[in-house]
Symmetry: C2
Subunit: 157 residues, 2 copies
Amino acid sequence: MLKPNELLQRSVDLACANVAEGGGPFGAVIADGEGRIVAEGRNGVTRCNDPTAHAEITAIRAACQTRGDFRLHGLLLYSSCEPCPMCMAAAWWSRLDGVIFASTRQQAAAGGFDDDRLWRAFETGATSREIPIRHVNLPTAGAEFEHWLATADRQSY
Amino acid sequence: MLKPNELLQRSVDLACANVAEGGGPFGAVIADGEGRIVAEGRNGVTRCNDPTAHAEITAIRAACQTRGDFRLHGLLLYSSCEPCPMCMAAAWWSRLDGVIFASTRQQAAAGGFDDDRLWRAFETGATSREIPIRHVNLPTAGAEFEHWLATADRQSY
């Protein structure tokens, strides 16, 4: 059982180890309130050809497999770096109790990563300037939600 | 080779099929500029115990595996529903050319999904109200970026 700062240090150690092995400089740990590690993650974007394989996403997916649940109530995410909007939203969808991070989005920017720019786009409602998005009013749109709401045994989340 | 509206209809069809098979009401298609489908995705959150397995993320990961690349330049994402912040950021990290969607975040909310609430948290800079986040100034933080910048053959992204 590790203390909070030891868990956070572990995430930084994972980030450093990942760089040594050719990966990106990000690591993450998911632990329960008593400091027991449930899962760990390293950035695997280039190694796995997966732009979503940030350390936090990788740790969340691993923790869910370990738990056999798509919800992580009662667990905390320790990340070597402030999560990007993708990872912050993933932490939210996974119902984690909270996030603790060491390096900041500004430090990530100095390392050549775009997190700070992406955060600013979200915080100013300007994501469509970064990636063009278009709504097409398809006549059949919404049928999927009608099917969903008509399904008595649907598993909500 | 399908026209844009046919690709979008395909994403709605995938969403409906997913509901019929017990999954969430979301589907996505990734195609090139000529309308050739590169990958498809369905929401697998409950089926796969993976809170990150939104249809868009699943399609992005599949397209990257097909391409053998973590970048999807030249491709478009067609989604049955307006992407949540996680998926929008994933679209950005994957360097897709753009996103086209059918149902809106408000329609998703009527279906019982939290996308609209999550978007508002991001757009008002209030994500920390949704999930507690804390910065701890670890003395060793930043070492991972120093290692990274000192690695001559690092693969940036």
